[in-house]
Point group: C2
Chain length 477, copies 2
């Protein structure tokens, strides 16, 4: 007879869980004290870990001690109020607790039938979010469309591209392979995820046309129109346009209405990637960002960037779910069930690349309910106000130059003396450990990016970063 396995009892879960919860709460209390950018060198973390797994189990207390000793020094602290790098990935207490419920329930939402509440809450909360952002009615589940949670905008874009490929080839690409040139369009400033998705979908990265941008880094619709026309004239099939509302590099806003008109006229699928900026539409004053969105076939926004919901939570909407489902559906015997066959339910495994899916809607539900619409608006407005103030300080500083408009929470700037000085400034700032910024290139210049979006980021942190920047500027001379 085999020995019975030992598992953590509910009472142990209570006691150990309280220790872990306390550890997390303490982390949030002291996260501002750590060097924002980890000072770890390659291999530091691994060298501190035992080379082989333990034969006998260890206590949660032991593991927590190693978290402090080994893991924390190797972290770059994305939740630090002094993290101004890349893009925000702001988490919050309600999101953390919603995710804890999801882990605790451990249900699978691949089909409606595998846990109906997992699917229905997701559909419902994505309709709520469509309300909060005032998205076009076509994206709601009570029309022909609907929303689904993906891990990232990369996956959402891939799914949009697969649905577009399905529509453009009437299903042939999925069945017979990509046996004719299908072309894709995005601006020169659009995220590299577009290249990756085009490669994965088998279209060939060379079939991606990078459309030129104007002086504020937004796609030129007339250049898009010309590029599509050229491909059509050459016998290629234009398949998908990806417009960006708020580029990663500089928050450039592609003109969705003009692009959408081109797409409608030319019969090309339009996907709008508003991963970061779309969240701002909880505030009516930022909804003009979405002007023309009713012309889009699909859209995504990431609450895991700027709406207090921890990663992963990309909300992907389609105006007509049938092309997406045709592109991704397979139905083996062991997944057949009466609910699916009745057609009365949504099965989200047909809306994404993976089959399995966890109960991610819970964290977004917790966030929307705990904050309420007014709390979410206040959160966005706070960061935008801080960014405007910071932008004004940059404007008034003769040694710095603004490098792009700042419609929301990102301020792009460079040193007037050139790329060398900009690089010095960036290195000096990040080397201090007190703040962390990253860079981009705009108009062939090295540019510093100040992305203001931490949950804990208050005026004092932005002021502190600015004071430090001035001290660095003084030292650079």
């Amino acid at each position: 007879m085999t020995e019975r396995p030992r598992h953590m009892s509910p009472d142990e879960l209570r006691a150990d869980g309280q220790a872990v919860l306390e550890w997390v709460a303490r982390y949030w209390e002291r996260v501002h004290e750590f060097p924002v950018l980890s000072p770890a060198r390659p291999g530091d973390v691994r060298r501190a870990l035992p080379p082989t797994p333990p034969e006998v189990g260890e206590s949660i207390a032991t593991i927590l001690a190693d978290l402090d000793a080994v893991i924390v020094p190797g972290l770059t602290h994305w939740q630090s109020p002094n993290f101004f790098a890349y893009f925000p990935a702001n988490a919050s207490g309600p999101a953390i607790l919603g995710d804890l419920v999801s882990a605790g329930l451990g249900v699978q939402g691949m089909l409606w039938a595998t846990s109906p509440a997992c699917t229905e809450l997701e559909t419902h909360v994505l309709d709520w979010l469509a309300d909060l952002l005032a998205l076009p009615p076509a994206f709601r589940s009570d029309a022909a469309g609907g929303g689904v949670i993906q891990d990232t905008a990369s996956s959402a874009t891939l799914c949009a591209l697969l649905a577009a490929r399905e529509r453009a080839t009437d299903g042939a690409a999925n069945e017979r392979g990509v046996d004719r040139p299908l072309t894709v369009y995005a601006s020169t400033e659009a995220h590299s995820l577009v290249d990756k998705a085009v490669g994965i979908a088998g279209l060939g990265r060379r079939q991606l046309r990078r459309v030129p941008v104007d002086e504020v880094f937004a796609m030129r619709p007339e250049a898009l129109d010309a590029a599509i026309e050229e491909d059509q004239a050459a016998g290629r099939t234009p398949c998908c346009v990806i417009a960006t509302v708020g580029t990663t590099s500089s928050t450039a806003i592609d003109p969705v209405r003009a692009i959408g008109e081109v797409c409608r006229r030319r019969g090309v699928w339009l996907h709008v990637d508003a991963a970061l900026a779309g969240n701002a539409a909880v505030c009516p004053e930022f909804r003009p960002l979405h002007d023309g969105l009713e012309l889009a076939d699909s859209y995504c926004v990431n609450p895991h960037k700027w709406l207090l919901t921890n990663f992963d939570c990309d909300c992907f909407y389609v105006a007509d779910r049938s092309a997406l489902i045709r592109a991704l559906s397979v139905l083996p015997e062991y997944l057949r069930n009466r609910a699916t066959e009745s057609g009365a339910v949504l099965d989200y495994r047909d809306w994404q690349v993976p089959l399995g899916r966890r109960f991610r809607a819970l964290k977004l539900w917790f966030v929307i309910r705990w904050y309420g619409a007014e709390g979410l608006r206040r959160h966005i407005r706070h960061h935008v106000a801080l960014a405007r103030e910071f932008a004004a300080w940059v404007e008034a500083e003769p040694r710095l130059v603004r490098a792009a408009p700042s419609p929301l929470n990102l301020v792009c700037f460079r040193h007037r003396a050139g790329d060398g000085a900009s690089q010095h400034l960036l290195d000096a700032l990040n080397g201090s450990g007190a703040v962390y910024l990253t860079h981009t290139r705009l108009a062939n210049r090295l540019v510093l990016r100040m992305a203001i979006g931490g949950t804990l980021t208050a005026r004092t942190h932005v002021e502190g970063a600015w004071r430090r920047m001035q001290a660095c500027l003084d030292r650079i001379g």
Copy 2:
């Protein structure tokens, strides 16, 4: 001036967190009491939710009350000890707590530089798992290979296929598109995720050859060889073979060594999908399952199925990471950094479809450390012993027939009187709410699947299911 946003303070996180933790602990205490299969009808959950999001924030206590009132009745309880459907997705206290730390830290691991510990702990823990499962040394990070956590075996298979496509076309498919027929091979019993991946990658689902199986549902290597030869003779390029160690339908074990020899001789990438069964290799007596694995180019196993780690945790290994990275790498300016350029680090965004990634290694680290190797072995042996006992009961029951071998934790059987009686039995069992099983088709017969893998599943639950089955059989007559 804008109003300052209100966030959950660390002290509120402590208090609300304790309430949520208590809710989760209580859920685990009473999960056996709920109907395993949710009785919800389509729309039940949504009808109980307010149509629009709240304007003003609500308390965590209010949300927890709705969890009980609205969500729980709509769940199918995958953590119930009486859940014998699909495949196990067993979670555990240590995994839940590791995931809580991940949510609390909220760091991004897309690049080594974005949080070094997130990458290094993952590489390290996947080497630990390679040790625990006695995987071939080529899959370890200190060789040319290494492991990475994906969400699912679907995504792992897609990544394997993209790496295979890269190697078979010397990069041309990624750059120029799939402009010649690339063929893929899997058994007739392999999971539908293969069709989906072949479609996504632009090869065309018709390029998937379903290789015949033998009487125990395992791929016939000589049929594979003939299929590859035929494609080569016709000028097509064989690209990838997907062997399954433990099919979803019946735990059929493809002969990896013989398949691997075919693949080596013919120069075709071999991916081995051991999503469920691979976990059993923590026990030396089950390692023959992996015989010949050193001939594979890639491999995946899902601790989120049967190694006590909550979803998502698919561990994907490659023997030569360079083809994978070439297939998936893109490097825009805003992701450039010195660590990446030094070549001294791994950047996991080049090992997966999405860019962003959360700190998933923590939960696997918590599980391996809390259980230790001996705890994991005991867990696997417990379920295998229960399945063997159940299989013996079925053997001794004249009204039932075993429908496939049971090498691990799944027992497949049918009613001797035919599909109608099997369907009646399944409906009667599931309608009771006391247990939940799902079905498959084997040799053109409807077959019931008893998958024994719940964390809480003890002998008493398997006995209870058996008693209920006998009562149902009596009623069917």
